[in-house]
Symmetry: C2
Subunit: 647 residues, 2 copies
């Protein structure tokens, strides 16, 4: 394909292109074997961040060091860890500990697990993460969402009140499978799966979950006895939303939000202790010592994991959902603060870290943990430098476990309930909702879907619906791709969207379309229909136009001679797509119109060539019907039209 | 946003752009309300072919006529129907009748229905289609695929041998629901759903179905008694595939393929009749007169339809699958010949026609019918001009029903079996398979999936798997969109794919990327990773380059100053996509690199503006960081770089 370069004709095209045009060849695509293509495709799919880049061209000894550092990020920052670092890490560590202890107890209650498990879970996992995790700001521990999901999903089949030991075992087992899910997602480089939980989905989901939790807690707070979601929801919602607005601001002055919970716990505990209130009907925490749970540090729990039996399905399902949701939170937190301090967090590696953390946790009496939004923010604001702040926190929790446990006997439940509610209400992100509404209406719909899905249907289904909607929209975009009509900006070589740029004018004799998506089975038929319609529009316009001009222009020049398809954006083509071009070619020939391609990418050229070598038909890739730019195509072809007219 | 237009500086950019550049504004998008957007979006989704175009600006009387013609295409060609038309329609009508009669009987057997139902189904539906259908070449009647699916799906729950009457009723009921499905798909303008059965899927599916049918028939042909698919399949496949190649050629000399079946039926019937062979153990057709089926024309059957009871689910499922598959064949046939003779077929209207045809059919003792590939081809080649050829065929069948039925008592089954096998083997399209393999390897996989799915799993699941794979691939394309690095072709304003065009060179100080897909939740994270990686590559290249040149270039000019994103192909943006730009902006600022956008479409501009009006952050749409073309951006900004360097 080598367009004839004909200089004379172009000089007459001044009105179309101001500066003279010489035609450039559309180069044949570089030769690559199917295997090479497959390889690069797989690389893009699974290693978009090219994690092994740093190893390239390094001496083998260095490679080993890098590998070790890659596996254990602690080796990266460990060596040059300074005293000043340590100081700020201690401060932030103690700060998040003061949050982690009350929240740990509360979230464990939320998951219908013995409160002490919440403390266990704030002791071991942080240590593991400090060694494996690559984020410097994430504060690890139990989180409200995961606790809620775990509790509610398991409660569907087992009553935590009737059979607490079994429930505890299932909790640990689910944690194991959650960890397994997370680790394998990371190991298989399938991290992108969590991207399908879009921002809209999560905003709606969190809010919905928050509502449910607060209602459950308000039940105990307000001491309501018979209280079903449906009946309670409408009256309570308003008040809830009212109180949200304050709790949105609070995170700003984080010292308060950091101090408050512990303060209230201590205060209330002292009061109860002093007044012996627990004997006067104030409901206080019972640190249940079920099974092997005793005072002191985490007892082993691997012998409590269920790998068979009737509940295997339940724990696997629970583990899957909890794992993915908590993973989403953890990764999001990591990415957020990494962006803030501009260091990189390898998503897939982070998933492995969190996964291993939970697998180990499940055999040391911990339930699902991940990076917590709220505590990480506090951690960051308190000036955390490295994962050492997690270690400090975990040590503080250890001390609590060893010495202070007995005191918690006097902590009133109502305080914990309050802590949970204030914590989860922070999950209702109204500004985000407003932003989503303003930017993208459909995303807002998705958000509502997951919000109401979670509240009125179920955690899993709510998410499923929202994700399904998002995917459906993508498919629709693919099925109905944009086709732009391009027009020339007089006195230039520019061709821009005719319906967006007022000063762009359509070139008589040409219909110039830009197709904005890969062409495949889902949209080939549509594109044919649509192009035909654009042609009909063109005819209509120019016939009326013709009438207006009282036949000053002769119809032959204004009538359609060429349909130019700007293929720059057609990033892929499948067999059905190839067929489209054949059909289109045929359909146009019947109308005496030529099909012209502009700037097709390598893959497209290749596939069209193959198709032609197959079937002897009208050739699409004819040299004089393929150009690199629209300007060149128009320049060349309009001179061709003029020649036709002269004859 | 109004880039400063500075003429002097550009004159120094000769090496980058030969003909002088003046900068054009990126126009703000035309104001459109959300409602207008929704409206046009819906129009594109459901009325891409703009069926009401012809009504525009017509006098109301004319509108009524057009409406009538739209509803009943017969009114379009009826008035100017000539004798010459009639002649050729009679010829072609008789030709397809000679195919329809034996095939009708055979396919009815294939569907485990009484053979006479096959003749009924070649009588009423063609008449209905002649009135409603808009294709001039389609020959309507029972088809092998639909018959196979109907038979096999119903047989899963009801034995045609044990309870033939019930089976017949279920057959009619399924036909009703098939018709309902088809009509409503058309009425709701959801025709595009059948596009999701891609060419690859269908080629594989047809071939698989053909194999199953032939095996079933060979069973009776070869008189094998105990014969399961799995055991028989491998030995038989080869011979089957061998015989295909001939049966591929046959359609060419269509008179043979048209005459053969009837000839063989008549001949064999006469022989059997003469030799009284039926008394000597030759198995002959039994026209079962179950229920109301008697000699003569179609008896009513609406009283046989099941709208409740235990089998409702079965018939609905069967109707859905059969309906969609037969619809696919019918529409494909219509489109093919419409393209050949260059007249339009309105897909959705055609669906309504086929749907109504089947609904009426279901209450006149007909089972699922549609436009048949093979017979339509014969019809076309025999010179059919209008749907009258269908009428002629139907009349011929009527005569047969009234007079010739008794003779069929002597037609040997083996002949019908042979007819079926030869017919269905024509469905194995090896050249298509080869073409798919050459053009697109993944499509070939899809084809294999549906082929083996149908053979070894089930009709529904085989299809489901294939469609699932095709959709998964689209999602993957969306999740991992192409990002091209653009380079300048020296002495021009052209910027083309650096890795495709050898003569393109990268512009020092700039990284120019073209993003080839809508940006949304599924790919935002990937794009960030990928862009960061391109930047790392740039740095790497230019540092080595720098060393090679022994520091002749000073590093400051070669180091990265601007990342230019060519947004021409970003046809949509969601909230997550907006966030990407914020993050990217931030990430680049840390490296002292500016983010430049080129030619963003209206929607993108709009959403970014909204996002900025929301959050006070670093502005993305800064006047001097948005350009209409890459050339202009480079020209302006490289002068900016030079200025920086001088200071």
């Amino acid at each position: 394909m080598d367009p004839i370069n004909n200089g004379e004709e172009e000089t007459s095209k001044k009105e179309i292109s101001r500066c003279s045009i010489d035609v450039h060849k559309v180069a044949p695509p570089p030769q690559r074997s199917s295997f090479e293509k497959l390889k690069s495709r797989l690389k893009e799919t699974f290693f978009p961040d090219d994690p092994l880049r740093q190893f390239k061209g390094q001496p083998s000894k260095r490679k080993w060091i890098l590998a070790a550092q890659y596996a254990f990020p602690i080796l990266q920052w460990g060596p040059n860890y300074s005293l000043s670092h340590f100081k700020s890490d201690v401060v932030s560590g103690l700060t998040i500990a003061s949050l982690a202890i009350p929240q740990g107890i509360s979230y464990a209650k939320l998951a219908n697990l013995p409160p002490i498990v919440g403390l266990y879970s704030s002791f071991v996992p942080p240590l593991v993460y400090a060694v494996l995790g690559s984020s410097r700001d994430v504060a690890v521990g139990p989180v409200s969402i995961a606790s809620l999901i775990l509790g509610s999903m398991l409660s569907q089949q087992v009553s935590p009140a009737k059979d607490p030991l079994l429930f505890l075992q299932l909790g640990f087992s689910s944690t194991f499978f959650a960890g397994l899910t997370q680790a394998s997602l990371g190991f298989l480089r399938l991290g992108f799966i969590i991207d399908y939980l879009s921002e809209a989905t999560l905003v709606g989901f969190m809010a919905g979950a928050a509502i449910i939790v607060s209602l459950q807690q308000l039940k105990s707070l307000l001491g309501i006895t018979h209280f079903t979601k449906q009946m309670g929801i409408l009256p309570v919602l308003s008040s809830v939303f009212h109180r949200t607005t304050e709790s949105m601001k609070r995170p700003k002055l984080f010292w308060v939000s950091a101090g408050m919970p512990l303060a209230s716990v201590i205060l209330s505990t002292i009061i109860v202790f002093a007044l012996k209130a627990q004997n006067h009907g104030i409901d206080v925490v019972r640190i249940l010592y079920i099974g092997k749970l005793e005072e002191g540090l985490n007892p082993p729990s691997w012998n409590m994991l269920h790998f068979r039996g009737e509940y295997l399905g339940l724990v696997i399902k629970t583990g899957l959902v909890t794992g993915i949701i908590s993973l989403t939170e953890g990764i999001a937190v990591g990415r957020t603060f990494a962006a803030l301090k501009s260091y990189r967090v390898d998503g897939n590696k982070e998933m492995m870290a969190i996964g291993i953390m939970n697998i180990i946790g499940s055999s040391t009496s911990c339930y699902v943990t991940t990076g917590s939004f709220s505590r990480s923010a506090v951690n960051h604001n308190a000036g955390a430098k490295t994962a050492v702040s997690n270690v400090v926190m975990s040590v503080t929790v250890m001390v609590t476990l060893l010495l202070l446990m007995p005191l918690f006997r006097f902590t009133p439940n109502v305080v914990l309930g309050a802590i949970i509610v204030t914590a989860v209400l922070g999950l209702i992100d109204l500004p985000a909702a407003r932003r989503i509404w303003r930017i993208d209406k459909f995303d807002f719909l998705v958000m509502l879907a997951s919000f109401f899905g979670v509240i009125f249907v179920s955690v899993q289904l709510g998410l499923a619906i929202a994700v399904g909607m998002s995917i459906f929209r993508m498919l629709l975009q693919m099925t109905r791709p944009t086709t732009m009509v391009l027009g020339n900006i007089p006195g230039t070589n520019l061709y821009t969207n005719l319906h967006h740029y007022k000063d762009a004018v359509s070139v008589p004799g040409f219909l110039i379309l830009s197709i904005q998506a890969p062409i495949n089975f889902a949209n080939a038929n549509y594109l044919k229909e649509r192009i035909m319609r654009w042609m009909a529009d063109y005819e209509a316009d120019h016939i009326t136009h013709h009438h207006q001009l009282q036949g000053i222009k002769q119809h032959s020049t204004t009538s359609l001679h060429y349909v130019i398809l700007d293929m720059s954006c057609v990033s892929a083509l499948d067999t059905t797509g190839v067929t489209l071009f054949k059909d289109l070619k045929k359909a146009l020939e019947c109308k005496g119109v030529e099909l012209v391609l502009v700037n097709p990418i390598g893959e497209v050229i290749e596939k069209l060539e193959r198709a032609e070598s197959e079937a002897a038909g009208s050739i699409i890739l004819r040299a004089d019907l393929v150009y690199l730019t629209t300007a060149e195509a128009v320049a060349q072809l309009s001179s061709a039209i003029n020649l036709k007219m002269m004859m």
